[in-house]
Symmetry: C2
DNA sequence: GGGTATAGGGCTAATTTTAGCCCTATGCTA
DNA sequence: TAGCATAGGGCTAAAATTAGCCCTATACCC
């Protein structure tokens, strides 16, 4: 897979939650799923800018962290659905607080001295 | 400096706040400063595992985003202090919510199926 | 003079994260 | 038969982040 050289130390809560929601697409995925978009293909469509590969990887990690649950229906063509676990649901308020703050920030350019967004 | 190939799109609040606090040491720095540790050398001591270089970089970014303010005292040897801006202060509750959630997660291993921490 | 400490920039390398292609398999429709 | 959709793994490359060294300058102490 990939051999990590520098060990992660999830010493504080902050590091822990960053480990969980820190991926580039994870917050989006959590949101999408919470809004009823459960199937992988749907999530791909909603996050068209993300490579399919990465979405699956991040979904896997969310699953490993116990944030989402993956249900496989034994049908053909395959059908899979993701659901937020109870733990995942408990994350929603946190994400909302973060998003609210970020949205406020975006609305107040005067408080935003210089943003080098590159490219 | 570094030429970004893939443009960042800070389309939603979530992306925005991640841009601001997403650095490896940024939440720590914000906390440290909020707790009265203002001088660069102090921050280095508190985050001994981080390279000095990276700390400075992240401090710069926090400053550019308007989260902290840098005061230079014209003395020798040089003296610099960082302070949270009003905006930076408004970030503290958000960070606390995140940290609380993460701390809870750390306390409940049964809700934590498999953690591949590597190394 | 040689050591400390102060605060940082320049530059490159190591590490980690994302992205992009290939491949599997089945059943449907045109 | 060809093409689409379904859901993913394998592998490698690109991009981004973080780390690690070098350097500057001044004033103190021994």
């Amino acid at each position: 897979m990939f051999e990590r050289k520098i060990p992660k130390d999830l010493d504080c809560g902050m590091a822990m939650i960053m480990e969980i929601i820190g991926g580039k697409w994870k917050p989006c995925l959590i949101r999408n799923i919470s809004q009823g978009h459960r199937r992988p293909s749907e999530l791909q469509r909603l996050n068209a800018k993300a490579s399919r590969r990465v979405l699956y990887q991040q979904l896997q990690e969310l699953e490993e962290h116990g944030i989402i649950e993956r249900i496989v229906y034994p049908v053909l063509p395959p059908k899979v659905e993701y659901f937020l676990t109870e733990l995942g649901n408990s994350l929603l308020p946190v994400i909302n607080v973060m998003d609210d703050w970020g949205t406020q920030y975006l609305k107040n350019p005067h408080k935003r001295p210089l943003l080098k967004l590159g490219a």
